[in-house]
Symmetry: C2
DNA sequence: CACACTTACGATATTCGTAAGGATT
DNA sequence: AATCCTTACGAATATCGTAAGTGTG
């Protein structure tokens, strides 16, 4: 039994006329006649009773009509859904981004994506960098936006831009108006930072040690906003990823570029090697590159 | 998208090997390759990623795999069910028979049918003759066993045999041992019969009137068994369709053939004109004819 | 170098449409 | 006589298998 045969039969069953049905399925009357004859042969008995003047269904024909309608509808739906997926008129992308990116920059990218492909659902997981990597590795999401997790044989990282550490100062701080300052200068002041298990804290510390810099930590907390608020109220200074600049300023911090050294690490898109992206995800990758790529 | 294409794709998706899948669907490797290529073209994108050394599914391929499996299973089921219907390995016949026939003779016929076609469900409606006709007319059943309802342009009656009225006598009745007797003789005795709305009563009365015979009715009831019991206990005599002979004897009646005149009417199979019978019902018709036909 | 999929090509099968045939209203 | 389905037949299309090609481990 072929799809064409079933389609032909259903058309005849609906119209009870070979001629009319022929138009529906774009077939000449004889061709339709043959098609149905073959179907009947294959199934082993007559589906229609034709008396040259009137066509009607046999009991078996009615049985096939009932089941065939649902069947063909599902068939066409499946086919159409696939076509829509490929033509980006339907589908879903699941991605994850670390909070600093998800909150500030990502919305701009998603807006661009949705403008181009309004019918594709986007699922965003706003989780910490380590979990982003984990979710990509497990295949729960197709794309992750995070720091470079380092070489891996199952993960592929495409950098988008460098995220630098910037200084955060109280509004009334003497250096608050400057465009940039050195690390040594910053670390003269009481230092506020994130608590130990934090990825940012670990990264910053390892980098500072390499340059012989030692912060005078007077306070650590586990939320970046809290760090910002503390700096904003004048408790001390801090250093945070540039991605968080806006957030820091919103709670009263003044941001300055930090040099000597410039500490930065790449932020980019992580995905699985060896696994092809869905069409929708591939396009998302493209849009994200355009929105946040270097040039 | 054709059935063959989907079948081919699913085979590859399952085995992740074109060569192996080819064997499953009885296709050479190149033919399978072409088939899938065409499917991909039709759907608008790749379903499989092949690296000449390894085959894996794209996200879209996984989507089709999930839906396609169910779809093809339903497809095959539908096809097989129809084939089974035509080959009498599956199906259903709904029929109705008047109680006298349904209770005594029909079981023998059904046994013969079920022996030949053990997988076909049979639905028997044990209803009075008028309802049998009604159910056939409404198309709720395909076959009805009843008396001839007379000519009709939508019903077709095929007689099986003649059902005669026979006499029922108490066991100690002087005529109880005879093989046949005349109506006039029977009607000398107190007569027990069914109540008025009954078809049998009406038929019998109209026939008797035509022959100038008048029964001395001393009692009427609405159940044939009751008539039998009353005769059995010696209250009087009765006349019932021969179909009920066994039932009468079970409750103590003695049956004799009635002549002068022999009153009979055809019992047969009723079905709708212009509507083809299902294969299962056509076969049932055949079996019933063989079991209860004249010769 | 061996294996697995793809491309090329000739052969076969299937399907299609036009034309003719048959039956019913 | 008109209409509707079926059969017949030549043509176009699609599909298949064999053979050659290509890339990977």
């Amino acid at each position: 039994m072929t799809v064409k045969q079933l389609r032909a039969f259903l058309a005849v069953a609906r119209t009870l006329s070979f001629a009319e049905a022929g138009e529906l399925v774009h077939l000449s009357q004889p061709a339709l006649s043959l098609a149905i004859k073959k179907l009947e042969e294959q199934l082993g008995g007559p589906l229609l009773t034709r008396t040259t003047r009137t066509v009607s269904l046999t009991p078996e024909g009615r049985a096939l009509y009932a089941r065939g309608q649902r069947l063909l509808a599902e068939w066409d739906n499946t086919e159409e859904e696939l076509q829509q997926r490929f033509s980006l008129q339907r589908g879903k992308v699941a991605l994850a981004a670390m909070p600093s990116f998800a909150g500030i920059l990502l919305p701009r990218g998603l807006l661009a994506y949705r403008r181009r492909y309004p019918n594709i659902r986007v699922e965003v997981h706003d989780v910490i960098a380590e979990q982003v990597v984990e979710m990509v590795r497990e295949g729960r999401i197709e794309l992750g936006i995070t720091f470079d997790p380092g070489p891996s044989d199952e993960l592929l990282f495409e950098p988008l831009f460098e995220d630098e550490l910037i200084g955060v100062l109280p509004p009334d701080h003497p250096d608050a108006g400057r465009s940039e300052m050195g690390w040594e200068q910053l670390l003269q002041y009481d230092f506020i930072t994130l608590q130990r298990p934090s990825g940012v804290r670990l990264w910053m510390e390892s980098q500072l040690v390499q340059h012989g810099l030692v912060p005078r930590v007077i306070l650590d907390t586990h939320q970046l906003v809290t760090v910002g608020r503390m700096v904003g109220t004048g408790l001390g200074v801090a250093a945070v990823p540039a991605l968080c600049r806006q957030q820091m300023e919103e709670v009263g911090g003044r941001c300055v570029r930090l040099v000597d050294p410039v500490i930065s690490r790449p932020v980019g898109i992580l995905r699985r090697r060896r696994y092809r992206l869905s069409v929708a995800a591939a396009e998302m990758l493209q849009v994200l590159k355009e929105s946040f790529g270097r040039e």
